[in-house]
Each structure stands twice: as C-alpha cells, then as structure tokens.
Symmetry: C3
Subunit: 109 residues, 3 copies
C-alpha cells in the first residue's frame, strides 16, 4: 500500500475526480492554493495497493499534463498605451505534482 499525494491544477481536478470515480479509485480532496503565481489547485490523497500504483500514476498523467493554452490578456491599465484592447497570450495550464509515500500501516474502520 502507498499513499499518493497528488497536487493538481484546478483546470484538471474536476476531470481527474470524475476519472477516479469511473475507475473505482477512492480519493480524498483537500483545498489548497499556491505554488508561486499559479492559481488554485487541489490536493488529492489516495491509498493505493502497490500493484496498482503505476496505473493510477498513468491515469493522473493522462488527465493532468501541463500544456499551453491561448487566452485573452486582461485589459491594460497602463494609460501610456494607446489602446486598452486585450490580445491573445499563451499561458501554461494544468499539470500535477505527485509524491508516492511509503506507509507503515493502512487501516479502515
């Protein structure tokens, strides 16, 4: 048994939570923030049997890879610029950070 701590960007956490349900994987969700300038994220705790760890890591990878997304910039408030138009920018979204932890005992009551 391992404890997987998965910190997942909010863009991906809903889809990942759905995948956990579809695949019968019990996950506990903690509210979390941060990691530099990146906005909200979700921390999942998962108790996983050793022989299933690789499959769970693969499932997370498929649903949470960092990728570039084109978004409209926020309007400029710099009054020296001639226009306040927004423009498309590429930002990095998604991604996950994972820790697989050894455990001494796993119990359910």
């Amino acid at each position: 048994m391992k404890l997987i701590v998965a910190i997942v960007q909010n863009q991906d956490s809903k889809r990942l939570a759905d995948e956990f349900v579809e695949n019968g994987i019990r996950a506990t969700k903690l509210s979390s923030t941060g990691g530099f300038l990146r906005s909200g994220n979700t921390t999942f705790l998962l108790g996983v049997e050793d022989r299933k760890v690789d499959d769970v890591l693969e499932l997370i990878k498929e649903n949470c890879s960092t990728r570039s997304q084109t978004m409209m910039s926020p309007p400029s408030y710099d009054f020296t610029l001639e226009s306040d138009l927004t423009y498309p920018v590429d930002v990095e979204v998604g991604g996950a950070t994972l820790f697989v932890l050894p455990i001494d005992q796993f119990l359910q009551f």
Copy 2:
C-alpha cells in the same frame, strides 16, 4: 515518531476532536471532501510517538466505526409514483481511513 493521517467522516470528527483534546493529543485539522458519494469529511494530521501509536489508533476506532443508521429518505420527485412520502432507509455513516507514515525528522520551533 509517526505521522498519522486520519480521514474521518463528518458525523464523527467533532467527537473525535474532543477526544484528542481530552487525551492531550495534538491534531491538525484539514478540510476535505469526497471518497465517492459520501459527503464531507475531515483529515487530521497527528504526530505520535511510536509507543503511543496503538493507543491513538484504538481511540480513533472507538469513535469512528462505520455503522448503519436509519434516516428518512429525501422526498421523491418521480411523478409516476402515487405518493411523495418519505420513508425510512438504512444508510452507512461514520468510519475512518488511516495511514501511519514513517518520518525521517520531526521538529518543533
């Protein structure tokens, strides 16, 4: 020293928190949700000396065992049924999932 991560159903978390105080056990409480269809739960983090681990696990077991409870069903919104009466149903409440983790260092400042 061990780190116990205890995920406890909300029906039991208040009573368990009281027991921790009564027994001089320091616990940190994280807000958490999920584990399939079950409603809110609470994740406790506890730093426990090796020789006290069994006592703490026993305390959690006594206060958090899964049990059946009779509740009234929600009213039906199925208009093909002749009545919208609620009726008693047995649901499973309570319970805890525990991970006992080895630690390399424990420090307090």
Copy 3:
C-alpha cells in the same frame, strides 16, 4: 527528495510564504485549524531535494519560532470585578511543527 509537511501558525504563514517565493521554493498551502486552543494555522507541503532540506528547515525556523507577545486582554465580562478595563497579557504566538517524510517517487507532469 523529501516531502516536508510544515504546520505554521497564521501569524507567521504570510511571511513564510513570501520567503518561499523569494527563495524559489515551491510550496502548496492547505487550510487547516487546531492544535488545542491555538487559532488558525496553515499547512504547507514542500517537495525538497535531500541536499536542500537543512536550508529549508532553517528558513522555516527563522520565520516561525514561538515567541512571547504582549497583547491587550479582552474586556472582562465578570460583573463582580470593579472595572472592565483591558490589561496587557503575555501570550505565546508563532511556531511551527515539521514532519520530514521519505518518498518512494516524485513526479511532475
């Protein structure tokens, strides 16, 4: 690689979060409460390379040591007292509890 779980009193958590950013240390912040009568605290999760663990622990120690602070008492509601004046009291603020956990795998997607 280690996973550091740092439970930090709220008086210190904002300054510590700033220090993490200044020093290029990625931290995930969980909302947490408790540890007896003490008010809110914050739990940080940090993935730290083995050779940097001591520096991170030192940084936390510098920013989170328990200390005495003089505060005004809340006004008394004990009507047997002749006055409802507040008076200065020494209270303990700040501090951190740290767990350094071994990890089997660390992954980023």
